[in-house]
């Protein structure tokens, strides 16, 4: 079965000449939850808008459900749900009126009450949109995105502005949708959100994909860290040879030694055996597996330094 979302060499240049998306490629399979992770200005929203069919790409191609979402919108729109980064609702309509309007514009929409129930806004049905909190507006936006039980869901920073509880409620809802077979493309600048929800992700940085793959693959591509204090009288050269430990880089600061390795278990075992055999006490021992956060920060820093 072909992928639900196919993006090839996608570029987007704005009228002013700024190139927000600089040749990215990825694909999302049916029923998969894919996250685009990146800092503000990385090009997430610019990319998602092309997938939603709001604008044509400057170069490259986008296929959603096998169609161009911009030129073949009639074939795509009834099957997609979209949650923009900022909800666009008339402030003087009530919640129920907003959903009713959207339902009237959407093929196969759920009943208004059911849609509001889904996101926990049923009790706020008669409240004007302008009186909603930021989190409630996000949930209203989600209700509209889910109105027609879409096959593909685009969520642009769905939990920005939500408190911890609202965020977890949204995560639960997104997981349920994914489990029910909905293909989800989500952007976020929250690492834990990508880690909690995504099967695969791409880290965007300055309009390019800096890393992509399953969460564990992206993490595994990053080195793990070992750090400890060497006692007085010991030097780096007294340690077992670093090369065979899989250490890719090391640095010392005073008595503190920091090692990066791609083989954490092996390196840690050898180091601890060496310490036991030599009766060396390694104070401040810290053994840290690679994490998505580190991968993310590493990518941001690395690109910073190559400028």
């Amino acid at each position: 079965m072909p992928d639900v979302i196919e993006v090839e060499e996608l570029r987007r240049t704005y009228a002013g000449g700024f190139e927000a998306v600089r040749g990215i490629s990825f694909s999302v399979a049916r029923g998969e939850l894919f996250a685009l992770l990146g800092t503000n200005g990385a090009g997430k929203t610019s990319t998602v808008e092309l997938l939603e069919g709001l604008a044509p790409p400057s170069a490259g191609s986008v296929r959603v459900l096998g169609h161009d979402p911009y030129t073949e919108r009639a074939a795509v729109r009834p099957r997609t749900g979209v949650m923009l980064q900022e909800g666009g609702f008339p402030s003087e309509l009530t919640v129920a009126e907003t959903v009713r309007m959207w339902a009237g514009c959407t093929s196969g929409a759920r009943p208004v009450g059911e849609a509001l129930e889904l996101v926990g806004l049923a009790r706020r049905a008669d409240v004007r949109v302008k009186q909603l909190s930021g989190g409630e507006k996000r949930r209203l936006d989600l209700a509209l995105a889910l109105l027609a039980r879409p096959e593909v869901l685009f969520l642009d920073e769905p939990t920005t502005g939500l408190d911890a509880e609202g965020r977890h409620t949204t995560w639960e809802l997104v997981r349920e949708l994914r489990d029910a077979g909905t293909t989800v493309l989500l952007t976020t600048h929250y690492l834990e959100e990508a880690e909690a929800l995504a099967e695969r992700l791409a880290i965007l940085h300055e309009g390019r994909i800096a890393a992509a793959g399953r969460v564990d693959e992206v993490v595994a591509a990053q080195p793990s860290h070992l750090s400890f204090d060497l006692p007085e009288g010991y030097h780096l050269g007294d340690l077992p040879p670093l090369g065979p430990l899989g250490v890719t880089s090391h640095e010392t600061e005073g008595r503190t030694v920091r090692l990066k390795t791609t083989a954490l278990q092996h390196a840690a075992t050898e180091l601890l055996l060496w310490a036991r055999d030599g009766r060396v006490e390694l104070r401040g021992l810290d053994i840290r597996a690679a994490s998505l956060e580190e991968a993310f920060l590493h990518i941001a820093r690395e690109q910073e330094s190559t400028r």
């Binding site: 709001l54 009639a74 923009l84 003087e92 009237g104 514009c105 093929s107 196969g108």
Partner: protein, 261 residues
């Protein structure tokens, strides 16, 4: 009423849903309601004594056939044009237009659906004002109703298109109060709403004939007087169509669906 229709939506059903929401919003906007519903009647009334003092003998016009086309012109300008510039700008700044574009509505359905309540209200007002003027000013029935209806339809369509074009060059709701001025003033002064083109010097009249709202006013007036020959009619139709096409071109080229950042 259930909204669980599994059938695919049609352009008409989508525009109806949007128009219904816009009508609700219009009802909640007191300033817009005043401009659209009260101002045209007020201006008509305030104009009546000035028109009563005009020397109309040579032109073959009556107080009624001067006043009523102007009155319907006010409806087109305030209830359709001004009101819609505000609607388009505010919905864009609220990101409503962008949100709507992610759904099944097509661009033209969004603009048309949002314009529908204003146009419908304007038509109702025009009927009421025509009836009111007929009774109060003891006017004869229109000699060619279809001309007046055609003028009104062409005028309303043009006002919608020009409102979208004006919104393209307006950044905020406050800005909309200024950006509508050129069109309002130009039409009131030059399109025969206050001073009929028939009583203007020929040179001036032939220039004023080419203004956007002039054909609509001329057709409406012609509907009542019956004094519009085929040549004049075709000329007015040509002008109205030209302005509409120009407006559509401007909207396609410059209309913005989201705020500038």
């Amino acid at each position: 009423m259930s909204t669980t229709t599994a059938a695919a939506g049609t352009p008409a059903s989508r525009m109806k849903a949007l128009a219904r929401a816009e009508l609700t919003l219009l009802g909640r906007n007191k300033a817009a309601m005043f401009t659209a519903l009260v101002l045209p009647a007020m201006l008509t009334f305030s104009m009546s004594s000035a028109v009563g003092g005009m020397d109309l003998e040579e032109s073959g016009l009556t107080v009624g056939t001067v006043l009523l086309p102007g009155s319907l012109g006010y409806v087109l300008l305030f209830a359709v044009y001004s009101a819609l510039v505000g609607v388009f700008v505010v919905r864009r700044e609220e990101l409503v237009l962008k949100r709507l574009r992610t759904g099944e509505l097509r661009d033209r359905e969004i603009l048309a659906g949002a314009a529908l309540p204003a146009v419908a209200l304007a038509f109702v007002q025009c009927v009421l004002l025509a009836a009111g003027c007929t009774v109060v000013l003891d006017m004869a029935a229109p000699r060619a109703v279809w001309l007046a209806v055609a003028g009104l339809l062409l005028g309303a369509a043009l006002m919608c298109v020009l409102a979208a074009a004006t919104a393209a060059f307006t950044r905020s709701a406050e800005g909309a109060q200024i950006s509508v001025m050129p069109m309002l003033l130009l039409s009131m002064v030059g399109s025969g709403m206050v001073v009929p083109l028939d009583v203007m010097p020929d040179m001036m009249a032939s220039v004023c004939e080419l203004l956007p709202l002039s054909p609509a006013i001329a057709l409406i007036r012609g509907g009542w007087t019956g004094a519009l020959d085929t040549g004049e009619l075709l000329g007015h139709l040509g002008t109205a169509v030209a302005w509409t096409l120009l407006g559509v071109f401007a909207v396609r080229k410059w209309f913005r669906w989201e705020p500038r950042r």
